[in-house]
Symmetry: C2
Subunit: 143 residues, 2 copies
């Protein structure tokens, strides 16, 4: 199959497929006489795997690790479990951050219930008065 069809079955764009090839996530396809990429079932499987990982918000690094682990048939899957556990921890951490954020936002929002002059707007005052805190380094790739 050609790249358009592959992209279609894997629910992504043609550009994304080419990008994955350039990144080394997807092995390079063979080419037709006219220099079109030619794909088979193995490519479909791999691309679907990658897209499923991305749907779970894994980074390319995590996916690369999983793929290389999966490619060693003799190995055990302890390392795979570890990648997964760490990723779940990332997601959890980000959820906690966002929940806290929402609490802060909601409390600010309460300060301005009415339409009034901006000079009196409790939100703006709150934003100006907040204690500016140093941004702590993020351990996750989840924005």
């Amino acid at each position: 199959m050609k790249i358009g069809e592959l992209a279609h079955v894997a629910q992504c764009t043609v550009e994304t497929v080419r990008y994955y090839e350039k990144e080394g996530l997807l092995p390079a396809a063979t080419r037709t006489a006219g220099n079109f990429r030619q794909y088979g079932p193995a490519h479909v499987e791999r691309l679907r795997f990658i897209r499923n990982c991305r749907a779970l918000d894994m980074s390319h690094g995590e996916i690369r690790t999983l793929l290389s682990l999966a490619d060693q048939p003799g190995a055990g899957c302890g390392a795979i479990n570890a990648v997964f556990d760490q990723h779940i921890a990332h997601v959890d951490e980000r959820i906690q951050e966002l929940v806290q954020l929402k609490a802060q936002l909601s409390s600010l929002r309460k300060r301005c219930q009415a339409e009034q002059a901006v000079d009196a707007c409790g939100i703006l005052h709150g934003l100006a008065a907040m204690e500016t805190e140093a941004k702590h380094k993020r351990h996750t790739h989840l924005g």
Copy 2:
């Protein structure tokens, strides 16, 4: 004050300050004879406002909007409330996404409790078998 001191009181780096100036979030400073940027209290206030917004994960676009609204003293703050409500909705949406994600990840994780050969690993099988879904456009800038 010079840029280093400004960065210090606003809890960010010198590079970030220069970046905000280039982006137009922070007005350009006056310069000393030696071409060093020179800041006053108004810059401190504005930069702290920006950093506080960023601590609440607002995008530069959202901050730009807030700043320009705040700069119109005669105007009402309905538009400000709207920006805020929308941002809270973004955060909420992202929390929902991540909670769902975590459920998916946890259910996958349960499929492989033991160290075993990768061929038998339930996680890998699950990742390969998942229904690949089209990535829906994200309405938020929160990763």
